[in-house]
């Protein structure tokens, strides 16, 4: 088994607040791994650390074999990222933003690829609209596109479904499921538990910055348990600790 993402005792402090507290986990190649947790549990901070968007206070992590502390830019060059907030540059159009991403990532044949994505996510009519004028859902489509347009070996995606309508959620879920079948890996942060149970092969639960549990989803279902109820009971129990 090839490990494509490994965190060892990752910790992040913001002043007195411990956002992520000594978290260790590993993700295998080809997995669709879900990082679950309530609001403020440290999911976004975890993704930011794993993609070199913020430096850990202590601990270490490698992504696709690259040290995220030593080579954060290299990590971001190899992976695809959907950040927590959809923030394409205000004064570029959707098409221009994808061209910008392609130029920075050195992706050839961007026009054909972009057109495929505009059709696939059904926003071709918005390709010449300024990003600042796009709706949240369309911005999310654009950010989804920029994360996958170079078909990275690993994508780290933070709440990718949150602004999508049910039809688009379905399209994206299917895409993610197909994507990992090609041997690629996805690390997804979400609090839509039903989706996680449906598409994830493995998961970890964070609460108050601590890792409460990690295992394959199949292990849970073999015990006759469902992810949403397991998650709720674990987090509720931890609240009283």
């Amino acid at each position: 088994m090839t490990i494509v993402l490994e965190a060892k005792n990752l910790m992040k402090r913001y002043g007195d607040v411990v956002a992520v507290d000594n978290v260790s986990l590993a993700v295998e190649k080809g997995a669709l791994f879900g990082l679950l947790g309530p609001n403020g549990s440290g999911k976004t901070t975890m993704i930011k650390m794993l993609t070199g968007q913020t430096r850990p206070t202590s601990g270490s992590a490698t992504v696709l074999g690259i040290d995220v502390i030593k080579d954060p830019v290299d990590v971001r060059g190899q992976v695809g990222i959907i950040p927590e907030q959809e923030t394409p540059p205000s004064f570029l159009t959707a098409m221009e933003y994808l061209e910008f991403v392609a130029a920075v990532r050195k992706i050839p044949g961007i026009e054909t690829k972009a057109d495929w994505w505009f059709d696939f996510l059904d926003f071709a009519d918005k390709k010449n609209v300024l990003c600042k004028d796009l709706s949240r859902g369309t911005r999310q489509k654009l950010m989804f596109t920029q994360a996958f347009i170079h078909e990275p070996a690993l994508a780290l995606i933070d709440e990718p479904l949150i602004n999508f309508d049910p039809i688009m959620q379905d399209v994206v879920k299917d895409y993610l499921a197909e994507y990992v079948k090609k041997g690629k890996t996805i690390f997804i942060s979400t609090h839509i538990l039903e989706v996680a149970e449906e598409i994830c092969s493995g998961f970890a639960i964070l609460h108050k910055g601590r890792l409460l549990h990690t295992s394959p989803v199949a292990e849970l279902t073999a015990r006759g348990e469902h992810l949403p109820s397991f998650f709720l009971s674990l987090v509720r129990k931890d609240r009283h600790v």
């Binding site: 954060p72 570029l92 159009t93 920075v104 990532r105």
Partner: protein, 468 residues
């Protein structure tokens, strides 16, 4: 609805103070106070070479310019809300979630800016002068009057830009017509009275001879400018969609000779489509510099021969260095955080765009040289101005990275900036006064500039990008 105003003030405070701590920011007005207090003791010495009236002129011109620059920074018509607060602001967007009109929110925004910068800049300066006044033989009433007229100067700068930018947002043609009407009006006034039109500037009139009529006239003029601007204010509707044909790819090809063509192309589109290139050039560059040139020209007899040109060149250089803030104000590191782009790469790209923009100050200095009959010193003046601009931006990049708009209010940062830039200004202005061609030696400033930029890249790459 006083809550909106107080919360906007809190918001402004937090925008500034979150970057470097409340204490550093709180010390900023204390530093202004200290400079004014200590500087006041130099007035009796300066009066031996410079008449008191001219000193008054300089101080009022400075506060007029301060108002113009504060106004020009944020109040640029339609883009103002996005420009000033971006997606981060809840209050500027509260028309969408609260029963408050855009105009009401914008009025609060303007009043907030006025009050906020009054306490940040105007009051500390006036207070320093007032406290020093007993020691330098200035009657308290005169010091208080100066505080009043400086406040009015600041407000005239702020509301003039606010008025002009609101006109600009409606129609560029009308803006040019208004500007032409102002220039013609001033010209006719000067021709009819045979007096320098600067002396009709209401705060100066008021300072030279306080009358209630003049005071009320000044206030009425301000109210009219503010009122008309608020009536003209026309925010874009939230749902409007602006469409453009693809300009990114052709621009990237045109910029292929630059180190980072895609980043340069993005910066160019940001500047053009936001209206900044024209708006900032007029309101944050040409207008303040025209005012400075106008006021400085009155002090011509007190400069050495050809000195005025080089003072204008150096001042232009310092103001031109703020063009770095034009290209860093659009986006934080956020949009780049999902891409393989380092902070140092972004700094380099913003500095490249800045370098292209230096054509504007170069042309301005050349125009001043030609218009003032100093064509022989055009090249030394341009070299001095542009070298100072690059040096000042090097200092700015080293001290502030990608956040000069915010970090400039950190008292430690501002102090270091003033010292590093001030020393260089003093040396090269003196050199140019001694011999205009000595200004050419300013090219050596590119060496410290290069070192500062190198240090800036290393320094800001080491800072957690989440801090931007």
């Amino acid at each position: 609805m006083f809550e909106l105003f107080t919360n906007m003030v809190k918001e402004e405070w937090r925008v500034h103070s979150t970057m470097f701590g409340s204490l550093s920011f709180a010390l900023f007005p204390v530093m202004i106070f200290g400079i004014a207090f200590m500087g006041s003791f130099l007035i009796p010495l300066m009066q031996t070479t410079l008449p008191a009236g001219n000193l008054t002129l300089i101080v009022h011109a400075s506060y007029l310019m301060l108002g113009i620059m504060v106004g020009g920074f944020g109040l640029l018509g339609n883009e103002v809300m996005n420009r000033r607060f971006g997606q981060a602001s809840l209050l500027a967007y509260s028309a969408r979630s609260l029963p408050l009109s855009e105009k009401f929110i914008f009025s609060n925004f303007v009043v907030k800016d006025t009050v906020y910068y009054f306490f940040l800049w105007v009051l500390p300066f006036g207070f320093g002068y007032i406290l020093a006044s007993p020691f330098i033989g200035v009657p308290l009433a005169d010091a208080l009057l100066l505080l009043l007229t400086l406040t009015l100067s600041f407000l005239f700068g702020l509301c003039s830009v606010f008025f002009l930018s609101a006109v600009y947002a409606r129609s560029r043609l009308v803006l040019w017509l208004v500007l032409m009407a102002i220039v013609m009006g001033v010209g006719i006034l000067a021709a009819m009275t045979g007096t320098n039109p600067v002396l009709f500037f209401p705060p100066l009139l008021l300072y030279s001879a306080f009358t209630w009529t003049n005071f009320l006239f000044s206030c009425a003029l301000l109210v009219v400018l503010f009122g008309v601007a608020i009536v003209l204010f026309n925010p874009e509707s939230v749902g409007s969609e602006k469409m453009y044909k693809d300009s990114f790819a052709p621009l990237t090809r045109q910029f292929s000779f630059l180190p980072n063509p895609p980043l340069a192309a993005k910066d160019s589109l940001d500047l053009y489509r936001s209206g900044s290139l024209v708006g900032q050039t007029i309101f944050s560059f040409l207008l303040p510099l025209a005012v400075i040139w106008f006021f400085l020209s009155l002090l011509g007899p007190f400069f050495p021969p050809h000195g005025l040109l080089f003072v204008v060149a150096v001042t232009t250089g310092v103001i031109a260095s703020t063009m770095y803030t034009w290209v860093t104000m659009f986006d934080t590191f956020g949009p780049y955080a999902c891409l393989p782009v380092a902070v140092s790469t972004l700094i380099a790209s913003k500095l490249t765009t800045f370098a292209i923009l230096q054509v504007i100050p170069a042309v301005f200095i050349a125009a001043v040289a030609l218009l003032s009959g100093e064509a022989a010193y055009l090249i030394p003046a341009v070299v001095l101005g542009i070298s100072v601009s690059f040096y000042a931006v090097g200092v700015m990049a080293w001290l502030c990275g990608l956040s000069p708009n915010v970090l400039v209010y950190d008292v430690k940062v501002l102090f270091v900036y003033l010292v590093l830039v001030g020393i260089v200004l003093a040396i090269f202005t003196t050199a140019a006064f001694a011999n205009p061609y000595f200004a050419l030696f300013a090219v050596i400033l590119f060496i410290p500039t290069w070192l500062l930029v190198r240090k800036a890249k290393v320094r800001w790459d080491a800072v957690d990008p989440a801090g931007f």
